[in-house]
């Protein structure tokens, strides 16, 4: 037997893609019948599920271990890890939860999962110097309108219109109890990594729109207009100050304005 045929057979038995129901060939049946096969099957499944549990701690805290591992098991078969970097495994788990039948009673779960994913992406993102207020202050006032501010590689932000996703996520991350009086309204979140550890804070809808526009390469004048379109009452100077204070923006490649 060719090596590739052996690997196709064993891989298919360990992580069967959905919808494959063909009976295994005789040589594979002989392997599946050995007690040792379960060691491989369990190790593969556990490795994937453990990684999802570790990478979605707020979801885990909200739904409990049994529920999380059952959902993770279903996800693993739809979308197994593409490579050995399990510390970053689980892209798409939030969207999976959005459509996962047993999560129908927890409509905010996908939004909380998106913030867990933001944390992982921020944690693993490239290093870069942050933009400091002093740099902006040296800029001639007329240059601000055309300035293209860029989010730092480790900055992530999410606006959730339907649920207080940030408060739900933050309370789980910080080990705070469920707050029954939490106002059920849309919330935004900003995650940054100014000094090694990922940090988080609430971000108004206009701030999310401002970062969306900056990420798309818009000059500041246009980004500010998009932010004000989202919320005409937005306090733009306060938003920019928040982005600078949290290290959300990347220093320009040319350090002197």
């Amino acid at each position: 037997m060719h090596l590739s045929d052996f690997q196709d057979g064993l891989a298919g038995a360990l992580l069967p893609p959905p919808g494959t129901g063909a009976p295994p060939p005789a040589w594979l049946d002989a392997l599946l019948a050995q007690p040792g096969f379960a060691v491989y099957r369990n190790t593969v499944a556990r490795g994937c599920i453990d990684a999802l549990q570790a990478n979605y701690p707020a979801v885990h805290a909200l739904v409990g271990t049994e529920w999380l591992r059952s959902a993770a098991h279903a996800f693993v078969h739809q979308r197994p890890p593409p490579d050995g970097r399990l510390m970053g495994y689980g892209a798409g788990f939030a969207e999976f939860l959005d459509h996962f039948g047993p999560a129908a009673d927890l409509p905010y779960l996908g939004a909380v999962a998106r913030l867990d994913r933001c944390w992982t992406e921020s944690h693993l993102a490239a290093d870069a110097p942050a933009l400091h207020a002093a740099w902006l202050a040296r800029l001639p006032p007329q240059a601000l309108a055309g300035l293209r501010l860029r989010p730092h590689p480790a900055t992530r932000w999410q606006w959730c219109a339907a649920h207080p996703a940030y408060s739900l996520w933050q309370r789980q991350r910080e080990g705070l109890p469920w707050d029954a009086t939490l106002p059920w309204q849309g919330e935004g979140a900003l995650l940054t990594r100014p000094h090694g550890a990922v940090q988080w804070t609430a971000l108004p809808h206009a701030g999310c729109a401002l970062l969306d526009a900056c990420a798309a390469g818009a000059p500041f004048e246009q980004a500010a207009a998009q932010a004000l379109e989202t919320d005409p009452a937005a306090d733009l100077p306060a938003l920019v100050a928040l982005l600078l204070r949290t290290g959300a923006l990347r220093a320009p490649d040319n350090p002197s304005p």
Binding site: A11, L14, L15, Q34, V44, M87, L124, A128, G196
Partner: protein, 280 residues
């Protein structure tokens, strides 16, 4: 001159700060590079801080050298960047496969040791060593299945890989013990046949019995202290080979660092006073 590597430990995140300040003679730390293949951020900063004070070994689990395909080019580039950045004392991988057709199976999977597999794996090791600009060591995995169709014994297969590619060998003594137990072969025979001249690193680890089958199947779980029969095989091996850098692996039920250092001290003593070992 730096002191030679004696016994090392797997580096666990909960021990980072203590590990940084350990001053045991000959100590080194091993990590899975997969946990540090990030674009940036605190993990790389931690590893660089450790590396500034201690020798570091990169022990890969996902290059999938025994897959019937070249190693993933992107993964290899990331690994090469990490090797350049960290300057590891040792780099190793497994005689196994895990990634196949774009899906990663987090385990070290077996294969029939055929002539075809030998040619493929030798080419994959060559590609890896070219990309990293250095030799790597290849580790014998734990076996749980009887496979048909082997053209080679594992020891001869490893010897031939070392001869063809110039790679070193990482002899995991616990894996030898467990595989012999699980497959009904003899660990002493395996070690006697092993091409010891190529050994650049040794692994020791604890195991447990399968929860369902008991002692009939032993699992390479890295969740317990090294078992006495494995220590006995190790002492006999070192008496024959002389000292080789030796790692104690612990990945689950992780005790305090002082407990791990005490276990590591046993390997260190064996490596530094081989004259005290029983003659075989």
């Amino acid at each position: 001159m730096a002191s030679p590597l004696t016994a090392g430990l797997g580096l666990k995140p909960q021990h980072y700060d203590e590990a940084l300040h350990c001053s045991a003679s000959g100590l080194w730390w091993e990590v899975h590079p997969e946990n540090y293949l990030a674009d940036g951020g605190p993990r790389l900063a931690w590893l660089e801080a450790i590396r500034a004070r201690h020798p570091v070994s990169l022990h890969g689990v996902s290059l999938s050298l025994a897959a019937d395909a070249p190693p993933d080019a992107e993964h290899l580039q990331r690994l090469a960047r990490l090797v350049r950045r960290i300057g590891p004392a040792l780099v190793s991988e497994h005689l196994a496969w895990s990634a196949w057709r774009g899906r990663y199976h987090p385990d070290l999977l077996p294969f029939p040791r055929t002539h075809e597999a030998l040619a493929r794996i030798a080419a994959n090791i060559g590609t890896t060593q070219d990309a990293l600009g250095r030799a790597i060591a290849i580790e014998n995995p734990t076996h749980y299945l009887h496979l048909d169709g082997h053209d080679w014994s594992e020891t001869d297969f490893l010897a031939e890989l070392a001869r063809r590619t110039g790679c070193g060998l990482l002899l995991d003594v616990a894996n030898v013990y467990l595989s012999a137990h699980n497959l009904g072969t003899c660990a002493h025979d395996y070690l006697d046949a092993f091409p010891v001249h190529a050994i650049t690193e040794i692994h020791l680890a604890g195991h447990h019995a399968d929860p369902r089958l008991g002692d009939a199947l032993l699992i390479d779980s890295h969740d317990a202290p090294v078992a006495e029969p494995v220590w006995a095989l190790y002492e006999r091996l070192i008496a024959r080979t002389g000292p080789r850098p030796t790692l104690i692996e612990r990945d689950d039920q992780i005790p305090t660092l002082p407990e791990l250092l005490a276990e590591r001290g046993r390997a260190h003593r064996i490596l530094t006073t081989p004259e005290a070992l029983p003659c075989t």
